[in-house]
Symmetry: C2
Subunit: 1001 residues, 2 copies
């Protein structure tokens, strides 16, 4: 193929294409209509665009005019500020909120937006949809129908979705009998294509689809797709499996292959798959798929699209610390599309090609390549979205004939969500459509070979990466586990099996670097299987504490004298070790405290984050800060470790919190006596190994598991202890605060207590909350790690307006959850940590039965192990114990309130103030929450667990905590005494003047 | 006078002058000699210069070779690093510290520097001096002799200085009988000038000279000068009163005028005065002096100099917030000199003129002006410093004949100090000498009219002062009182008299804005005169506390919801009010708690500083801080007031500390219950007035003086209290810590206690300490405000090497102090605060007699009032109670140690760790102190009291304090709960991207 010549022909064809549709614009950009005006305004004003899209998103939830008017005011300001464009076309100039006129304007806006949506959607239900399809077919457009739906949060919803497709196929089948094939007549379109053509989102078929549970997810989706595929085959239709977010990509490809490997579908080449050209993986995926098909003798059908989740994929990857899976230069995706289209066209003998693009350059390229490769016309077609780029589809029809419209239908809520995506696409800066029709970009530039653009862009990128080895990079969170990667899933399995080899060992105390095996020992067991002993752990006595303290006293001076930078180096080394061993460290937690894979991995990641962050923080704080600028004096503010710290750690974040508290104490120049929780002493021992590997001097850190009754008070009250860092229950925390405050004989310093205590955290569901997100996030916040997080959601406060809708979905979602041992990633929920916890939770369930009405008591749980039923109870009010006491288990109370103010009052009505959440799309209510919802960590429109180091400094007040936020910039200060050193630098009337001095000009 | 022509003639003459001395350089710049080489190096290398000058300064204290070698190493690095220039001329290349060779090199350096000094000093004693003077006279130079001495810290030293001058005059007189008048022969030089000519520093004649005690200072100095002037007159000599620092300027002028107003000296026109052209005041001072002389018919003699304390004056003014008294552009001083010289020459008929300058432009200008004004030759002369600018003096002799050398002599210690000043002058960037001889600056530029240069410089100064009213200026400390200003002295007298009119009133509680007069009342009295009742103060009961708490509870929500900026505005207004009323506010303290003027003024200044600083700090902290940069989420870290604060204040900084603690609590959004100390309740009431004037809402701040036994624990334990800010004794502090830690029924929050407690502060006197400074600063640190500061020095730890010298001067300095009521600024020390304090101090004095040896028990104190003797005791070791217990009075223990390590160990040997000080000129020991001297505020080479807001954030650890430093950047955090608000900004896969996001490139 002569590339240059081909490119020239592509350009020529493109120019002709443009000419053939010149003067026409897609209706969305037509400024004589409301939509066109609004889009124009949105493209000029980024803030308006954001507000508009958000408003469109919330619109279907606004069921009363009052609510509609209020939201318009909140999103777009008062009547004065309401952009003229929104008022356009409304009769009368009545201001918003001023009675009937205002309501009328609001209604106008509502219906304008509704009709905007109807531009992209073929109907709200099947019968409307069929009507529209008929019209389209009259205009010689084929279709593929897609059912829009809310996110599938429960199995009930998944099965409903499946059922809808089966019904749709039936309806289309019977309807199609009345149709004639496009262009050619007969019972096929274009002479060869089935008239009934549907597209389906696989993830919607299984509410529990998760990458970590790969096998099972593939399995269930295959199972649920099978009847749909079978029916499609039966009626002689076509079905395309849509490609969604990157997280489902491997699952979807695997689903497709499994289905096609089935005997009944091996030959059913009307089952198609979508590939997204913007994914960096796609070249490889395509090759694998083609070679698999070739070797299996299977005929494929592939729709190639650019991909519609670019913003989402990029943001999520950035948030989680993953490599961005999509191309970040727009032209890279365009070039990939052409490259991949060529590969498919080359394989036309066994692979049918659907080209999904609105880009005239892309379309022209496909046409010219097909011509060059002599691909028969019945081996490829073109697809565009309904309602988008009408001139393109018209032009396509003229030249290519075989044009299929992607035609979604569905109810208002998912409809608006779909509208937002379409608007976003139309208005994105780099969108071909925006450039072609809204901005009139130069034709030649639009038709340029994207590969050339990529090369130019790459050339222009300055390579100024001066990553000198001496300067530390800024802090970044350790990436979350990415279980879409097979390697990571396999590594976890491997790690668990390795750890299992090591179970049952006996563990010593570590005092002054020496292993001390004691008479008194305690066995730590697997809560999912208490027969399985994780380790047998030596228990410290008071004499052991004395020995450790003595070693601290001897080491303190030298350790404190090290520079902050030097101490930080130990933490960096510890982080290196933990990074290398992350899977194994996580596996210990899975077995010892019943953490799910992702959460165990996140716990180790958080430990690494603490090490990396506190090390950098210490370097920052150990630079003496000059105070004031007076000449002749230098005032340096600096900080020095307080002395010996007792760290009393919990079992629920057995590595992260232990590591956070100890590393903060260490890096600030304190010696540490570390008492892990008894239930997680073996994980505590892994922390000891990390510090040993990092070379922390032996006198500086001591591992002393032991009974609270034996050594707890002793440590807290000991006169040699200067700092106590504690995380645990309020009861123990307050006891420590009280006991530590009494100064003992020989005590050098008033003790500093840093205590993270309990929570009774609430999430408020406003009447306009996005339930797709709210349900999923409440479930995770309440039942993630069995609710055994101080940050967990234990109350959900729901406005009555939305109560029924929310609660129904919530309960169904919870019902869909699987409960079982954490080592099997299939289970969303595992056992609670021990028998005491089990008993406590069960007693609260009994109480729930008395105080409220049980909505769900999910008791299909293993008999062995410390499992408890997942429980949801409604009818709870602040007077109930269930609304006040920390349960630390999977028991969620639902509280119904009249309005948002009551919601906040109820949320604030406990002794605790740790985390809280609000799901709302009302800017005013979000602001109200910011001001009035009194918690340490407030989360707006997301779950309330999973705070990350630096990004969400963590900790509460009231009875939830004493001290500043872990993982935040003030945390280390608590472990140090501030010191100011003032030097008079003037001698004999002569003072050297420094640059920063406030000296004469 | 035709200015242009005159200027031309000046330049012509200057050019000739330069030509006449061309090729010659002052010996100090002669590079073939050690001094020249070293000076050259110093001018090229600022760091070396600093080290060299400091080394020169400490040199005479290095009495052993070991000490000499050690200091050379510390100042100039090890043998490898020793700059070659220092080794120059030394025989053998032996490294320092390597036995004999090293010692030899050190000795060489020592003697080189010594001979450098001898270049500027005519001898170490009178007989050496006379010898040199003889030589000078042979070369036709007249002289004026000055006795160099250490700073006068005691009356003994002052009287010794006086005696030395009387003896000098006798010796010179008898010697002069052997001399012949220069040029003309006879018994006068030049035919008219006395051969015996001395210069004297007036401040050296009175150890207690202070601007605030103006009248008395003038009086004593006059008295002590009188016999010297009389003897000068008697022997027919000449005496010039030198001008020293700006602080003594008005005193010195007044002394001169008083002396000349005496009948016996009215006609003695050989008593001269120096004026400094670099002072902005001098134009006015000169006019006043001339018109006074004219009207009194007195004949003057004035030496005009540029001024030698430029660095000092500038640094001090910057440090204290005063207007800089000197010109900051060098040419401004030069221009002023010419202007003032002209005024004097115009008055030649009654004013003799001595022109003191090395600047050829200046000299030429004086010559030409004298010529223009036809001033007879016997009405003016030229003076230059001995050892400086030899070519100039030679050239001057050629053309002007009448050249007098300023010829100091004295011992090594003051000699080296003098040397440093001379070297500084020679090497200053803008020094005429440096430019003329070392740098060969262009002749024309050097001879330019300085007024022209000034105008050019001013023109070039960009006027980019965009002081928009909306932006706050950065924080600056309130200026310290400047009692050199008559207005300030008078304002204080006025304020005391105003306050005295208001004594004896009855004061109510202020609860919720209401005045509440109670049955129970306590009288507050003047500790210098307990008969004098300051005020009668209502005492709060528990019911009053309840009422105040209830009001707080009602006001809290609204107050906390205000923005930090809005709350800060109240503080700015309070500061405005306090600034306007500073003298009166200070006067209340003088009478109620016996504070000296300057300290009472500083206390109000500190209160203003707290208001201004915390307001700005709150504005800083209330800007939400974005954490992390992940796109799609905004994490804001912010802070919210904890609730209701109890502020329990001390009497010793009755406004400053009360204001600091309350304003911090208020501005962070807490309501405040303020309990002042009983002994300073009336000053406490002035704080209430300040807040009322600022408009602090009535429910937010409550004034509740009362007995600790009645309301202290009640407040501390009350469940509604969330924060306790306390400053006072360790005993009470620890009681509060303990009681506050017990959580009570109904308590919402674990209490935060911020407690500033006691100190047992030590100053270490190293064997190379500058005693001139150490003695003065120890006296002030120990006896300022009667030692009633938590920061006061109560132990001085002295190395045995320097023990005798230091202790002798210290005791004599202390003996010179005057004790009496604080309202009379003459008294350095006043009464302790009440009878209890008096008894306590007296009992410690009894203990001192047992534990150590009393060196001074200064009991010339008023009988009335709570006065105690100033006491110094030696022989104290760490075992003694005197070394361990806080006395809070003027009792200073001296501890003798072998070496610096022992000094630090002893310094650290108490339960406290508040302030500490070190006087040392050993870089290594200063570093050791930085690392090992464990106190909250460490001061190197200055006193240990008087910490300023922002510049010296204040507070200690161990048993000295709980919490962070007052007036520092972490202080406000303690009054707030940190809150992190996380918003998920992604909706429907669409997230607005912010500028700071970590977004793709």
């Amino acid at each position: 193929m002569d590339r240059e010549k081909l490119n020239q022909r592509i350009k020529d064809r493109g120019r002709e294409f443009f000419k053939s549709i010149s003067g026409e614009a897609p209706s969305v950009f037509n400024k004589s209509w409301w939509t066109g005006k609004v889009m124009d305004w949105a493209m000029k004003n980024e803030n308006f665009k954001v507000q508009l899209f958000r408003f469109v998103d919330v619109l279907p939830y606004l069921s009363s005019s009052a609510s509609l008017v209020r939201h318009i005011q909140e999103y777009f300001g008062g009547e004065q500020e309401l952009p003229g464009v929104l008022k356009w076309g409304a009769r009368g100039a009545g201001g918003l909120g001023k009675g009937i006129a205002g309501k009328l304007l609001a209604k106008t806006i509502y219906s304008n937006i509704q009709s905007m949506a109807m531009q992209f959607i073929i109907g709200e239900n099947t019968s409307q949809a069929i009507k529209t399809l008929r019209k389209l077919r009259k205009d010689n457009f084929a279709f593929t129908v897609d059912i829009l739906g809310e996110a599938t949060v429960s199995e009930e919803e998944a099965l409903f979705y499946q059922k809808s497709y089966l019904e749709l196929l039936d309806v289309l089948h019977s309807e199609s009998k009345k149709w004639k094939g496009i262009l050619t007549g007969g019972d096929k379109d274009w002479g060869y294509a089935p008239m009934v053509n549907c597209s389906i989102k696989p993830s919607a078929l299984y509410s529990q689809a998760r990458a970590v549970d790969f096998e099972n997810t593939v399995d269930v989706i295959c199972k649920r797709l099978t009847p749909i595929v079978a029916k499609t085959k039966e009626i002689g239709g076509h079905l395309c499996i849509d490609m969604e977010q990157y997280a489902y990509k491997d699952i979807t490809i695997e689903v497709y292959k499994r289905l096609r490997s089935k005997e009944e579908f091996r030959d059913f080449d009307q089952l198609a798959l979508v590939l997204q050209a913007y994914l960096k993986d796609t070249d490889r995926d395509l090759e694998e798929l083609l070679s698999w098909a070739r070797s299996e003798g299977i005929r494929l059908s592939i729709r190639l699209v650019k991909g519609a989740y670019w913003d989402y994929e990029t943001v999520i990857a950035k948030q989680r610390g993953w490599e961005i899976p999509v191309y970040t230069i727009k032209a890279e995706s365009d070039a990939a599309f052409e490259r991949q289209a060529e590969r498919i066209l080359q394989s036309h003998e066994f692979c049918y090609f659907a080209c999904g693009s609105h880009n005239i350059r892309t379309i022209s390229a496909v046409m010219e390549m097909a011509k060059e490769l002599k691909v028969p016309e019945d081996r490829y077609e073109f697809q565009v979205l309904y309602g988008m780029a009408e001139p393109v589809r018209k032009g396509l029809l003229n030249v290519a004939k075989r044009v299929r419209l992607y035609a979604p239908y569905g109810e208002l809520i998912p409809g608006m969500a779909y509208l937002v995506r379409r608007l976003l696409e139309n208005t994105a800066n780099e969108s071909f459509l925006r450039q072609s029709f809204a901005e009139g970009a130069e034709m030649d530039r639009l038709l340029e070979d994207p590969q050339k653009i990529v090369e130019e862009k790459r050339k222009n990128k300055t390579t100024s990466h001066t990553s000198s080895a001496t300067t530390r990079t800024p802090f970044k969170n350790h990436p979350l586990a990415d279980f879409t990667k097979k390697e990571q899933r396999e590594a976890f399995v491997q790690a668990i099996s390795e750890v299992r080899q090591e179970l049952g060992r006996t563990y010593p105390l570590i005092i002054n670097g020496e292993e001390v095996y004691t008479q008194e020992k305690v066995a730590s067991v697997n809560p999912a299987n208490p027969q399985e002993v994780i380790g047998i752990v030596s228990q410290a006595s008071r004499e052991h504490i004395d020995r450790a303290l003595e070693a601290c006293r001897e080491s303190l001076y030298e350790w404190r004298q090290l520079s902050g930078e030097d101490r930080a180096k130990f933490l960096f080394r510890a982080a290196d070790y933990a990074r290398k061993n992350i899977f194994k460290l996580a596996a210990w937690q899975v077995l010892e405290v019943g953490k799910q894979w992702d959460q165990a991995h996140a716990d180790v990641g958080e430990a690494i984050d603490f090490l990396e962050y506190y090390a950098r923080e210490m370097i920052r704080l150990s630079r003496p800060r000059r105070m004031g600028r007076a000449p002749g004096e230098i005032n340096h503010l600096l900080y020095q470790g307080k002395g010996i710290a007792a760290v009393i750690a919990p079992w629920n974040f057995p590595l992260a919190i232990s590591c956070g508290m100890t590393s903060a104490a260490l890096v600030t120049g304190n010696c540490v006596i570390y008492k892990p929780a008894t239930l997680s002493s073996v994980v505590g021992y892994t922390l000891t190994s990390i510090y040993q590997a990092a070379g922390i001097p032996k006198g500086v850190f001591h591992y002393v598991p032991g009974k609270g009754s034996e050594i707890g008070d002793y440590l807290v009250e000991h006169p040699l202890i200067s700092v106590i860092a504690f995380t645990g229950s309020m009861e123990v925390g307050l006891r420590i605060v009280e006991r530590a405050a009494k100064v003992k004989e020989g005590q050098e310093q008033v003790k500093r207590v840093i205590a993270e205590m309990g929570g009774k955290n609430a999430i408020i569901i406003d009447d306009d909350a996005d339930l797709d997100e709210a349900v999923v996030d409440v479930i995770y916040s309440a039942f993630g790690y069995q609710g055994q997080k101080c940050s967990a959601c234990s109350r959900v406060i729901v406005l009555e307006e939305i109560y029924d809708r929310f609660v129904k979905r919530l309960v169904e979602a919870a019902r869909s959850i699987s409960i079982g041992p954490a080592e099997d990633p299939h289970h969303y929920m595992g056992p609670v940590v021990d028998e005491n916890a089990q008993k406590k939770v069960l007693s609260y369930i009994e109480l729930a039965k008395k105080e409220g009405k049980i909505l769900l008591l999910k008791d299909d749980i293993p008999q062995q192990g410390y499992f408890v039923p997942l429980t949801i109870v409604e009818g709870i009010t602040p007077e109930h114990r269930l609304a006040q006491e920390e349960i630390f288990g999977p028991v969620l109370s639902i509280m119904k309130v009249k309005d948002f103010d009551q919601a906040i009052d109820w949320a604030n009505s406990t002794r605790y103030a740790l985390t809280g959440g609000v799901f709302s799309r009302s800017p005013r209510n979000l602001q109200k929450a910011r001001e009035r919802f009194r918690v340490g960590n407030l989360y707006l429109n997301r779950g309330i667990t999973g705070a990350l180091v630096e990004r969400q400094p963590f900790g509460g007040f009231k009875m939830s905590g004493v001290g500043s936020k872990a993982g935040g910039p003030d945390y280390l200060l608590q472990f140090m005494d501030p010191i100011c050193i003032t030097e008079n630098t003037m001698r004999r009337g002569f003072a050297p003047i420094c640059e920063e001095d406030d000296w004469i000009e």
